[in-house]
């Protein structure tokens, strides 16, 4: 291959038409005029940058490798190592498990091990001589109505994340919530769920959750807490009477949309004039809020209608995978580009982004930019779209101006049917520019709708937190109540929240876990999980859901409502009473916010009977009719999971005249610190709150496929410039360990604004050059057994003035290495001898119209007669699945849904590094094109349920067999663990329990498991079953009614969670079924179809809709 590169170099020695190389050399060659010097970094820096990036010796290698994206001969590739063709990668191709994975690496020697094994083998037969242990049945004494043992019940509730709700339907087995599904009636869900809500059942049963109310670490009772808090609150009243008022109560919460909680807080604030309420979320949406205020002079909430948009431009917004409406947006977006039943129209997505995200990966055009460049880009675009930005147009380099022209034209051609959306990490001015563009393009009212804010009290969270810290520092705070959250860990480093908080005499912390913040608070109250709570919350469009509990608090947790009630003289008031009473009063007021009653409920302490008497006037006055009306309203709201007619009404907002006068002037890189840093919430553990959730920790992050860690993510060129990773054939790739499957990452020291943190480097194709992305949420010190001491804390270098990105980052190689467990190179489907296989099919809309199969030329699947065995016949059902690669956005909710439904264990970082993760479903990421900005394709792969399954014929004990309906069945009780099946599986979808991964002993986790699926033990092979338990249930239900299973009656867990409906399951014998129709599409193809294994799961080729004017960029 080296010769090939040389040859190419000889043909075009200075060819520089590759995108990235032009970007690098552009500043030198272009005459830098005055205007462009405003927008472009000083040329000296760029000189420096290009000299860093272009070491003379290797520049030709680098360039030629970039020039030819297929230098390893691959069109599609899964990792840089594959593209570069490293030795370790070749090794991985040959082995499913690394060389040493099956070795006995224990202090016990081989001889002793063989002796022990021999003895246990000889004695193993004896275990068969035991009879089954006696089991007991304890029926109810008085069986509750409608609670039938063995029959799951489903309840509607909602999960708040950063304050905003996603509507859910929760499956409950005899009172134990076991599985989360989306609520079809909820606007933010439409039946889909994200990974966070899927994993929240594990959060509920987490044995590391805080279980006791503590004071200075000692377990105390609730009355003792009240005894301490009451006098402090009473003292506050006295303080409030003083002139000038000094000191006070402070409440710190996350963003609150809950009408009831906000009402309670406002009541408390009205009672105590010196009290203040602060809201802060480390991954909050301050920029979006402030952007609306900048543009319109008032807070407004923006709702996008992707179902009406033909052209979408995202300015650093990951709207398909992040944020409170991502599920809805992903559904609407995907529906507009589904090429089925003859549809030939697609929407088009442009993404300009400063890191790699799911949204950028599915974009038709993606432009990686430094974060500081996005504002300039947005301004230039706004100018070209006809917005008066008040500033002269900017010059961009040729490639970007081509982009600007093309996007500008496309947007103008789709007036009223386009969307410009700004990312939550971009400063307010970018949001204001997006608002102005949407106004100019006539999108407002059609695709962009403004409403009142969904937050009960919208504030700039960072400013709010800063104010609190200042107050605490100056001793003005007597009593601090922290309602959820972990500010000691996640507050920006420059604020020194912990130091300021220590100056508060009385600190109370309510949270699910005893964490870094609880350590520094005298009082810690265990919080009730949302599945244990009564509350309410709004969705992105304002729709209110009542949060109802599925189970009584496992650890006597309290809700925020109950903690606040203690401060409101209603110490024993349950959250049910609080929430219901609020809605009763609101119902009586005709849906309007009920007035705040100051000081009304004065109840003597310790009289639990009293709370009922607190609203005598409200309850006794209305007529019987009104109360039955409320009862109906309440029951309907609980049943539906949404309170009818609470979505906020569209409102008209006008751009302020001076909105564009503000410039944020993002910092530019300097010669000393040529790098920019991007902070993002972690794709799987968010801001750190899910750090102790094993399902989320082990979920491979959508693009890097990293588990159990975060990393400093850089582009290959930046890594090359810093001499990070391994250099092979002119590529900077991650260094694979030669024995395992982990990445041996170089450690770097990130120095940013005087603070330092050491981080392992992960090289990510498509990442913008000169930028380091770090994900928040790791580096927890007190998170629990799962989450503590994983990764590094990006909060340690995050500052309040630049919480999302900034320049001035210095990077230094420390020389150390760190092992990262990433699954990107696990379960590879390629084989070296064969060359590139037909794994992913993709093409542009134009190509699709001309050549609808999008398959490689001259390749076809073997015919019917190609098998020695007779074909199976299926009389009734033949189950099958179709996965539309066009729709998949790689969010990985399906993976967690599968884990939850099928009792899949967590294996831990060390085992993941050995390729032993147990996920039945994986989402493979494939890249196409050069490493600087490749096209990205996601491909969910689970057991393909082959017709001619290679696994079935090699099992010596018939533990894996073919069912009469075409399922490839795995019978655990027969499996003896030879692993022949896994060895013979071309898709590498079988998972073996090398060790006892399942936790059989933790009591709370026993409650979590799906009773319809066997819990597997050590030494057993397992794999996707197409959720056979759901198939059997539907079949039994249908047979009892003497009918066929209806299409859509069986929905596997992955398909049910999918926000884009990319996964469709059904009976392929029924030609009218959705799955059969999808399989009839011409883009339908079998993965590795040439093997003639005839998989039942087929894929629909991914189609992208690039702008012809931009070509394939």
């Amino acid at each position: 291959m080296a010769e090939l590169v040389q040859l190419k170099r000889a043909i075009s020695p200075r060819e520089e038409d590759s995108d990235s190389s032009r970007e690098l050399v552009d500043p030198d060659s272009s005459a830098v005029d005055a205007q462009s010097s405003i927008l472009d970094p000083p040329s000296s820096i760029l000189n420096l940058r290009s000299s860093i990036l272009d070491p003379p010796s290797s520049i030709l290698d680098l360039r030629s490798s970039i020039l030819d994206p297929r230098s390893s001969g691959k069109q599609y590739w899964r990792s840089l190592e594959e593209l570069a063709g490293t030795e370790e990668f070749q090794e991985l191709l040959h082995r499913e498990f690394p060389e040493n994975a099956t070795e006995w690496n224990d202090p016990v020697g081989r001889r002793k091990f063989l002796k022990l094994m021999g003895a246990s083998f000889a004695l193993a037969g004896l275990t068969a001589c035991t009879r089954q242990p006696t089991e007991y049945i304890a029926p109810y004494v008085r069986q509750p109505e409608e609670l039938v043992p063995g029959q799951p019940a489903f309840f509607a509730t909602a999960m708040p994340l950063d304050g905003l709700a996603t509507g859910l339907i929760v499956e409950s087995h005899e009172g134990r919530p076991t599985k989360i599904e989306g609520n079809k009636d909820h606007p933010a869900s439409l039946g889909a769920t994200d990974a966070f809500s899927q994993a929240s059942v594990l959060g509920l049963y987490d044995p590391d959750r805080s279980q006791t109310l503590t004071h200075l670490g000692d377990i105390v009772t609730w009355p003792a807490f009240l005894g301490a808090v009451r006098p402090a609150v009473d003292a506050q009243r006295a303080v409030a009477a003083l002139k000038p008022a000094k000191g006070g109560l402070r409440i710190l919460s996350g963003t609150i949309t809950s009408p009831t909680l906000a009402h309670q807080i406002k009541t408390l604030l009205a009672t105590l004039p010196t009290a203040k309420w602060h809201q802060y979320d480390p991954a909050g949406r301050d920029n979006a809020r402030e952007g609306s205020r900048l543009a319109f002079g008032q807070y407004a909430n923006t709702v996008y209608r992707f179902d009406k948009a033909d052209v979408v431009l995202s300015l650093d917004s990951d709207f398909l995978a992040c944020g409170p409406a991502s599920l809805r947006y992903a559904r609407d977006f995907a529906a507009k580009r589904q090429l089925i039943s003859g549809k030939r129209e697609m929407n088009r997505l442009y993404v300009v982004e400063s890191t790699v995200t799911n949204t950028g990966s599915v974009a038709d055009h993606r432009l990686p930019l430094r974060p500081s460049e996005i504002e300039r880009f947005a301004r230039a675009l706004a100018t070209s779209a006809g917005v008066q930005t008040g500033q002269s147009a900017f010059l961009m380099d040729e490639r970007r101006s081509k982009w600007l022209t093309a996007i500008g034209k496309d947007l103008r051609e789709h007036r009223g049917a386009s969307i410009v959306i700004a990312g939550d990490s971009q400063p307010p001015i970018v949001h204001a520019l997006a608002h102005a563009m949407n106004q100019t393009l006539g999108n407002v009212g059609s695709t962009v709708i403004y409403t009142d804010p969904v937050e009960a009290n919208p504030v700039d969270g960072m400013a709010s937190l800063r104010e609190l810290v200042t107050d605490m520092d100056s001793g003005q705070v007597d009593l601090l109540l922290i309602l959820g959250g972990n500010p000691v860990y996640d507050a920006p480093a420059d604020l020194d929240f912990a130091g300021a908080m220590r100056k508060v005499p009385l600190r109370v912390h309510l949270n699910l876990y005893k964490d870094e913040t609880s350590e520094l608070c005298q009082w810690h109250i265990p919080e009730a999980h949302y599945l244990e709570s009564w509350s309410d919350a709004r969705a992105f469009d304002g729709t209110v859901s009542i949060i109802q509990p599925l189970i009584a608090p496992l650890y006597s947790g309290r809700t925020a409502h109950e903690a606040l009630a203690a401060f409101l003289n209603e110490p024993e008031r349950s959250s049910y009473d609080t929430v219901r009473d609020y809605w009763r009063r609101r119902f009586a007021a005709g849906g309007q916010e009920p007035p705040i009653k100051v000081g009304a409920p004065q109840v003597a302490m310790g009289s639990p009977g009293a709370p009922a008497a607190t609203q005598p006037a409200a309850t006794s006055a209305p007529s019987q009719a009104a109360s039955t009306g409320f009862e109906q309203f309440w029951r309907k709201s609980l049943h539906d999971g949404v309170v009818a007619n609470t979505a906020l009404q569209p409102k008209t907002v006008a751009l302020k005249s001076d909105w564009s006068s503000q410039t944020s002037n993002p910092e530019r890189p300097t010669a000393d610190a040529p790098f920019e840093i991007v902070f993002r919430p972690d794709p799987t553990i968010h801001d750190g709150r899910f750090a102790n959730n094993g399902w989320l920790q082990e979920l491979p992050k959508p693009l890097s496929k990293l588990t159990w860690d975060n990393a400093a993510i850089v582009s290959p060129a930046t890594a090359g410039a810093l001499a990070l990773g391994k250099r092979v054939n002119g590529f900077s790739t991650n260094r694979m360990s030669s024995i395992g499957r982990e990445i041996l990452a170089d450690q770097i020291e990130l120095q940013y604004r005087g603070r330092k943190v050491i981080a392992p480097v992960l090289i990510q194709p498509g990442h913008p050059d000169g930028v380091v992305t770090v994900h928040l949420g790791y580096g927890r010190t007190i998170a629990g057994r799962v989450g503590s001491n994983a990764g590094f804390s990006a909060y340690a270098i995050r500052t309040s003035d630049a919480p999302w990105f900034g320049a001035g980052l210095q990077v230094a190689k420390t020389g150390g290495t760190y092992s990262l467990a990433t699954t990107q190179s696990h379960h590879l489907l390629d084989a070296e001898e064969i060359g590139e296989r037909d794994i992913v099919r993709s093409g542009s809309l134009e190509e699709y119209k001309k050549h609808p199969t999008l398959g490689p030329e001259g390749q076809h699947e073997p015919g019917e007669q190609a098998s020695l065995y007779p074909a199976f016949e299926y009389k009734d059902y033949a189950w099958g699945m179709a996965i539309d690669l066009s729709s998949c956005v790689g969010c990985s909710a399906c993976v967690v849904a599968c884990v939850a439904e099928n009792n899949i264990p967590v294996v831990g970082k060390e085992q993941v590094a050995r390729s032993r993760e147990m996920h039945w479903l994986r989402v493979d990421t494939y890249y196409k094109g050069g490493q600087t900005n490749p096209d990205t394709y996601f491909q969910p792969v689970a057991c393909q349920h082959c017709e001619n399954a290679p696994c079935e014929v090699v099992c010596p004990v018939a533990a894996t067999a073919h069912s009469a309906e075409g399922l490839n069945e795995m019978t655990y009780n027969r499996c003896v663990g030879t692993r022949y099946c896994s060895n013979n599986c071309p898709y590498k979808v079988r998972r073996f329990n090398f060790l006892l991964y399942q936790d059989f002993y933790t009591a709370s986790l026993k409650m979590m498991r799906n009773p319809d699926v066997t819990v597997r033990s050590r030494g057993v092979m397992e794999k996707c079953t197409y959720c056979v338990q759901r198939i059997q249930k539907a079949k039994i239900d249908s047979q009892k009614e003497d009918r066929k299973v209806r299409d859509g009656e069986i929905v596997p867990a992955c398909a049910q969670a999918c926000p884009t409906e990319a996964i469709v399951f059904g009976n392929i014998n029924d030609h009218e079924s959705r799955v059969a129709k999808l399989k009839g599409e011409q883009r339908n193809y079998s993965l590795l179809g040439e093997l003639n294994v005839k998989p039942r799961t087929t894929y629909l080729a991914a189609v992208r809709n690039p702008n012809p004017e931009l070509g394939s960029e």
Binding site: A128, R131, Q132, T134, E135, Y136, I137, A138, P139, Y140, V141, R142, Q143, V148, P149, G150, Q151, K875, D876, A961, S963, A964, E965, L967, E969, T971, Y972, N973, R974, D1012, V1013, T1014, V1015, T1025, V1028, Q1029, I1031, Q1032, I1036, Q1039, K1040, D1042
Partner: protein, 228 residues
């Protein structure tokens, strides 16, 4: 050096070699028979229960329908064990002071459930569904035997997979009209007064199997039908 073994020992060695095959065969056979024995399967072993509950009395003598207590047998996988409330429906009126019923009354007073010993206990990797069997004409007595004659309940079937497959391979040999599912005495001594309407399983079975749309043997014997 003389021979240690006499020629006649050859016979012993031959017997030993051939005997070994028989011996191993016998051992395997014994193991299999042990596996089927009621010592191992616990068939025909009445279980001790906290209350001396007699199905013979309730079903046989009093004629209480199965579904009065096992309420979900037609709807769910689990037939249902009655809550204490069901016992007290009658026993708050009759046998109010019987010492045998003290555990029931105690449960009712204290709210603590009666802890029954499970009689039919399938392994956890086997998923049996009562409702589909009952709805397809598999009678209670086909698997549970003459419960109406059992003072203390015991299982009459081995519950081995072999036993399950006996029916899953040939359901027509066991099914009966749906309306007779809860009949204990089946097949009837006298199906119909007229002699030409005697119950003939080999005639009625296939007919019912068709009528009830019983799944093909291939489906019924697929592993995932019972193992998930």
């Amino acid at each position: 050096m003389g021979q240690i073994f006499n020629r006649s020992t050859n016979f012993i060695s031959k017997v030993t070699i051939f005997g070994a095959f028989f011996f191993i065969g016998i051992i395997i056979w014994l193991l299999l028979e042990f596996n089927r024995s009621s010592y191992y399967t616990q068939a025909y072993f009445p279980r001790e229960q906290p209350v001396q509950f007699s199905h013979k009395h309730h079903v046989g003598d009093d004629g209480v329908d199965c579904r009065y207590c096992h309420t979900t047998v037609e709807k769910l996988a689990f037939a249902g064990i009655p809550p204490t409330k069901t016992c007290m429906n009658c026993h708050s009126q009759i046998w109010r002071d019987s010492p045998y019923l003290e555990p029931v009354r105690e449960s009712w007073r204290t709210g603590k459930p009666i802890k029954w010993t499970r009689v039919h206990d399938l392994p956890d990797f086997t998923y049996f569904n009562h409702s589909i069997h009952v709805n397809k004409g598999v009678g209670c007595s086909t698997c549970h035997g003459r419960v109406d004659l059992m003072p203390l309940t015991y299982q009459v079937a081995s519950l081995n997979m072999e036993w399950c497959l006996e029916c899953h391979r040939n359901p027509e040999q066991f099914i009966r009209p749906k309306k007779e599912v809860f009949t204990m005495d089946w097949p009837p001594q006298q199906w119909d007064p007229s002699p030409d309407k005697q119950w003939h399983q080999d005639v009625e079975g296939p007919r019912l199997s068709k009528e009830y749309n019983i799944q093909s043997t291939g489906v019924l014997t697929s592993c995932s039908t019972c193992h998930r």
